[in-house]
Subunit: 215 residues, 2 copies
């Protein structure tokens, strides 16, 4: 399998964590988002959405969307389970994952910031304010729904933690204060000590830039 990856992509980071939790090692190709490598015809044939991650299977099929990729990997390599087998617990974990993947991350990502700057002519302060607003209000709702034990939903990481750790990384990057969210900070600290989360961290990736321009 080949993972199309970018070190600072929150969605790619999720897939890296999931693969590491499963102990799966895949070939990786790096798609430099800031250089626009996702917009080349060759990559668009892989993923018409022009986003990372994408996972190319050995038969040439290409899977897209981080949560769909994670569900696929969870079905094919079910140990350890990333979506809880109990339907109600799975629904709660999925709700946290989706609250991040749908209602925080897409509002705060690179393509949206580019559109706000280039098309809406908004200055960097307003773009930063917009980003912090959606991240902070999104995390506030998540804080109200998790009961760390010590991961979001029990003693092992699930898709909720897999989405939360990259979102916390992004919140810190964009200067969102995390003091109001003690439960999220507690989960984040546990994740930060877990080998799979450590291995998947943006700063540990081969394509990471030492001095990354903001944002």
């Amino acid at each position: 399998m080949i993972l199309y990856d970018y070190w600072r992509s929150s969605a790619a980071y999720r897939v890296r964590i999931a693969l590491a939790l499963k102990g799966l090692v895949v070939e990786r190709r790096f798609v430099h988002l800031r250089d626009g490598a996702q917009k080349t015809p060759a990559y668009r044939r892989k993923n018409p959405q022009q986003l990372v991650p994408a996972l190319e299977l050995d038969d040439g099929s290409v899977l897209t969307q981080s949560l769909a990729i994670i569900d696929y990997v969870d079905a094919i390599h079910p140990d350890p389970r990333l979506a809880p087998s109990d339907a109600l617990l799975a629904a709660r974990a999925r709700a946290v994952a989706l609250a991040i993947a749908c209602d925080i991350h897409p509002l705060a990502n690179l393509r949206v910031a580019d559109f706000m700057r280039d098309e809406l002519k908004l200055d960097e302060d307003r773009i930063a304010g917009w980003r912090r607003h959606w991240i902070a209000s999104g995390l506030e709702a998540i804080e109200a729904t998790i009961e760390p034990a010590p991961f979001c939903f029990g003693s092992a990481p699930t898709i909720a933690d897999i989405c939360l750790a990259p979102q916390v990384f992004s919140a810190e990057r964009f200067g969102v204060p995390l003091e109001p969210f003690p439960k999220i900070r507690s989960v984040s600290a546990i994740c930060a000590a877990h080998p799979a989360f450590v291995a998947a961290h943006p700063f540990k990736q081969p394509d990471a830039e030492a001095t990354a321009p903001a944002p």
Copy 2:
């Protein structure tokens, strides 16, 4: 079960379709989003995200996020399957569902338009242009990934169709031309003739407004 619903919410519309496909009838409570009913303390206790839909189970548990609710319903009432049982096909159907639920809908919904108007002081034309941009570019990517037969992924509706039909409704509402997307129009036409999709349509809901102000 109680569904917290709003006629014009694209996410609630998805859950209505899923419940109708399963033949499940639930009690419904209507949360008038334009009046701000989602922001009341009583509703925030149900869903801290202040979004619809939410599904309250008989034991009082409240599920949120349309795709998590649909996966739950699919697990508890597996006939007919809404996520294909084949892992690869499921991944492809989920990718379409998530491309809509993550990368189109959250950028074009009410709370985002409100923020752009009230906080960023953008005028209605620019908000409408923003919305059409994300809807059109999102649909363009989906057009490249589906092969209608006659639904997105075979002879029966899946989560892909469940997300696509409401997104097409929303595209039409916001004046996004659908001519460039013949495959999407073909799926949309098939869905429009399916009883479950008909029953779930916004205009058929008890809380629908005859003359809805835009948007």
